[in-house]
Symmetry: C2
Subunit: 422 residues, 2 copies
C-alpha cells in the first residue's frame, strides 16, 4: 500500500492552530502547506511556508486535501467549510458553535460530496469522545450523556470553593490568569457548553438538535454561600451539560439542557476540578462509562485535531468512502421537551421574614404543589432580620416548583437561588 502525504490547509493560527502545526511536525504522513491568518504581520511561534490573510485561498487551493478550521465563529467559517467541501476537501474542525448551528447543512453536503467531516476537538478538548461514540461504542443505545463541558466555568467554580470568594472576584482572577476571556459571556452564560451538548446529543441519539430549544443557564448567579452550603450537605456545584431520553418514553423525546447542578460528592463528576472536563455516557449494553481530561488548551486540543487528521491520512487513497462510521446520516429532528416538563430534585435557598410560621408557609406551599421535601435547614437570622432557609426537594416537576416559588413570593418569601440536583 502506498501512503500519499496528506496536504493540510489550516484556517487560524491562534493557540490551537499553532499547537496543530507544532505537533504535525512529528508526522511524515501529513504536512501543513498553507495557513490563513487575520494579521499577516503578527509574529508567530511556528512557520508555515505559504501564509495568507484570505482564508478562501485555502479552501480553493487545489493542492490541499484537508482543511483544518480552528478560527471559530460562524461567519465566514460556514461559507469557508461549505466551499471546501464542494471542492472535495475533507474537513477537520474544532468549531462547536458552527456545528451546533449549521451541522445539519454541513453533514448533508459532506455526504453529497463524499468527504469526511471530523470534529473531535469541538467537544471536551483533548478527551476522546466523538470518536468512541461513533466507533467503539457504536453497538450501544444510549439513554444519557452528561458532563462538565466547559473548563472556564469549572475553573471558576473550583476556585470559588477553594478560596471562598464571590463569582465576580473569581472571574477577575481567571481573566488575569488567562482562564477566562475579556468578554466571558460565551463561557459563563453556558453558550459554549450548550453548543457542545447539542453536538453530543446529536451523535448519541442520532437526531438533529435545535440549539435554540436547549435550556441554558450559566454560573453567574452562584454565590460563595451556595457553594459552602452545598458542601455542608455533601455536594459540589458544577455546570452540567445534559441530554437524556425522557424516562418512560421509548425512542421519544429528548431532555437537553445546560445549567448548574448540585452533584453528590459520591459521584465521580464532583471530583473533576479546575479546567478539566468529563463526559459520562449511559446506555445498553455498555452501562456507564466516563471520560475525563483536559477540556481545552493548545496541546490537548491539538491532540484531537491531529488524531482526526491521522484518521483521514490512514484511509486516504485506499477507500471509496473515507471513515463511513463517522458520517452523520440521520436527518430526523429530535423532539426536545421544554424544561417545564422535566422532573428534578432541587436545592432552593430562600430568604424569608424572621417571623413565626415562615417554615410552616414554606412547607404548606410545597405540599400544595406536590413537592416533597427531603431536607429543610434554617441557617440563622441575618442582619436585615431575615432568615435563610435551605430546602432540598425530592423529585418534583419543574412547573410545580415554579408555581410554588410564585406562591411563596406572595408571602414575602424570596428565592436567593434555585439549583437543580443531579
Amino acid at each position: 500500500m502506498e501512503n500519499k502525504k496528506l496536504k493540510i490547509g489550516i484556517i487560524g493560527l491562534g493557540t490551537v492552530g499553532t499547537g496543530v502545526v507544532k505537533v504535525l511536525k512529528n508526522f511524515d504522513n501529513a504536512e501543513v502547506i498553507q495557513a490563513a491568518v487575520r494579521n499577516l504581520n503578527k509574529k508567530r511561534e511556528v512557520e508555515v511556508s505559504n501564509i495568507t490573510d484570505d482564508p478562501f485561498k485555502v479552501v480553493n487551493n487545489p493542492e490541499i486535501d484537508v482543511v483544518v478550521e480552528v478560527a471559530g465563529g460562524c461567519d465566514p467559517a460556514y461559507e469557508l467549510i461549505t466551499t471546501a467541501i464542494k471542492n472535495k476537501k475533507h474537513i477537520v474542525t474544532a468549531n462547536k458553535e458552527l456545528l451546533a448551528k449549521f451541522g445539519a447543512k454541513i453533514f448533508d453536503l459532506a455526504n453529497e460530496y463524499n468527504v469526511a467531516v471530523l470534529y473531535e476537538a469541538a467537544v471536551a478538548g483533548g478527551i476522546p469522545i466523538i470518536g468512541p461514540i461513533k466507533t467503539t461504542l457504536k453497538g450501544n443505545t444510549f439513554t444519557k450523556v452528561a458532563g462538565i463541558l466547559n473548563g472556564t466555568t469549572n475553573y471558576i467554580l473550583t476556585k470559588m470553593e477553594e478560596k471562598n470568594i464571590s463569582y465576580q472576584e473569581c472571574l477577575k482572577d481567571a481573566q488575569d490568569l488567562g482562564y477566562a476571556e475579556a468578554d466571558p459571556t460565551g463561557d459563563v452564560e453556558g453558550y459554549d457548553a450548550m453548543y457542545k451538548i447539542a453536538t453530543l446529543a446529536n451523535i448519541t441519539f442520532h437526531k438533529r438538535i435545535d440549539v435554540n430549544k436547549i435550556y441554558r443557564e450559566g454560573i453567574t448567579k452562584i454565590s460563595a454561600d451556595d457553594i459552602k452550603i452545598a458542601d455542608e450537605l455533601g455536594y459540589k456545584i458544577k455546570l452540567i451539560g445534559l441530554a437524556q431520553r425522557v424516562p418512560g418514553v421509548e425512542d421519544g423525546e429528548l431532555d437537553i439542557r445546560v445549567h448548574p447542578m448540585l452533584v453528590s460528592k459520591e459521584n465521580m463528576i464532583s471530583k473533576i476540578n479546575n479546567a478539566l472536563n468529563a463526559v459520562l455516557l449511559e446506555g445498553f449494553p455498555v452501562d456507564k462509562v466516563m471520560f475525563t481530561g483536559p477540556g481545552a488548551g493548545e496541546f490537548p486540543t491539538a491532540s484531537s485535531v491531529v488524531g482526526d487528521i491521522m484518521q483521514i491520512a490512514g484511509e486516504f487513497g485506499h477507500t471509496d468512502t473515507i471513515l463511513p462510521l463517522t458520517r452523520c446520516t440521520h436527518k430526523e429532528m429530535a423532539e426536545q421537551i421544554d424544561i417545564k416538563h422535566t422532573k428534578n430534585k432541587y436545592y432552593i435557598s430562600i430568604k424569608a421574614p424572621n417571623s413565626k410560621g415562615t417554615i410552616g408557609i414554606i412547607g404548606t406551599v410545597c405540599g400544595e404543589n406536590n413537592i416533597n421535601l427531603s431536607s429543610i435547614l434554617q441557617k440563622g437570622i441575618k442582619e436585615d432580620n431575615t432568615a435563610q432557609v435551605i430546602v432540598i426537594t425530592e423529585e418534583s416537576s419543574e412547573s410545580d416548583i415554579q408555581n410554588a416559588i410564585d406562591k411563596l413570593k406572595t408571602h414575602n418569601i424570596e428565592i436567593n437561588n434555585l439549583i437543580r440536583v443531579m
Copy 2:
C-alpha cells in the same frame, strides 16, 4: 454505496458470546450465522441456526466474513485464529492471554493476509481504550499507561475495606456471588492484569512486549490491616497495571509491571471501586486522560465486541485495507527493565521486637541504603510483644529497598508487607 450484510461466526457461547448474539439482533448489517460451543446439549439463552462443537468448522466456513473468538485460552484459540486469518477472515477477539503471548505472530499474519484483528474487549471490558489509543489519540507520544485492569481483584479490595475482612473471607464471598472463579489464580495473582498491560504497553509505545519479563504480584498478601493503615494515611490499595517509559531515557526502556499500590485518595484512580476498571494515559500533546467503566460482564464486554464488528461492517467492501490505523505494524521488541532497576515510594509494614533502639535500627539501615523516610509510625505493641512499625519512604531504588530489608532481617526485624506507592 452498497452495504453487504456481514456474516459472523462466533467461537464460544458463554457469558460474552451470548451477550454478543443478543446485542447483534438489533443490527441489520451483521448476523451470526454459525457458533461453535463445547457442549451441544447445553440449554442456551440465544438461538444460532447453525451450531457446532467443532470450532474449525467456523474458521473454515467460506460463508463467514468475521470470526468472533470469545472462548479464551491459547489452545486451540491460536490455531483457530491463524487458520481464520489464512482464510481471509477478519478477527474480533476478547482473548487477552492469546494477544499477550502470541500477538506478534497473529498481527504479522493479519498484515500478510490484509485482514483486521480487533480486540477492544480484551482490555478493560466495556471501556473504549484500544480504539481511542489507535485512532483519536494517534497524534500522541505516550509516557505512561496505568490503571485498574482487573474487576475481580478490585471488587475484593473494595469489599475488604468496606467490611474490614481478610482476603480469604472476601474471596469466598466473591466466589459465592460469581465475582471470582472457583480457581481464582488468574485474577488474584495478577495474570489477567498482566496480559492486559502487555497489550496496552504494546499499542501505547509501539513496541512488542515479552510478557515473561513483566513483574507480577497479586493481592493475596494484602491484609485488612494494610488496608486500614493505608486509609489512615490517606491512601487506598489498588492492584495497578503500569507501563511507563523509564524517566530520563529517550524512546528507550520500558518499565512494565502489575502489583498492588497505595493510591492517594486525591488521585481519581482511588475512587474506582467494586468491579469497575480505569485506564489513565499520559503523553504529549494530550497531557492526561482517564477512562472508567465496567471491566467485565456479559453486556459491557459485548459492547466492545459489537463495536469492533460495526467498524469492520462500516468499511467492508469499500476499501482495499480495512481499518489501516488499527494495524499493528511495529516489530521491534521493547527493552523491558527488571523491577530491581525501578524507583518507587514504598509502604513497609514492619514487625519488630519490642525493645529500645528498634526505631533507631530501622532509621539507620534505611539511611545506610540511601532510603529517606517520609513518615514512620509505630502502631502499638502486639500480644506477642512485637511492635508494628509503618514506614513510608521517599522515592528509593527497588534494589536499595531489598538490601535494607535483608539487613533488617539480621536484626530480627521482619517485614509484614511491602507495597509500592503510586
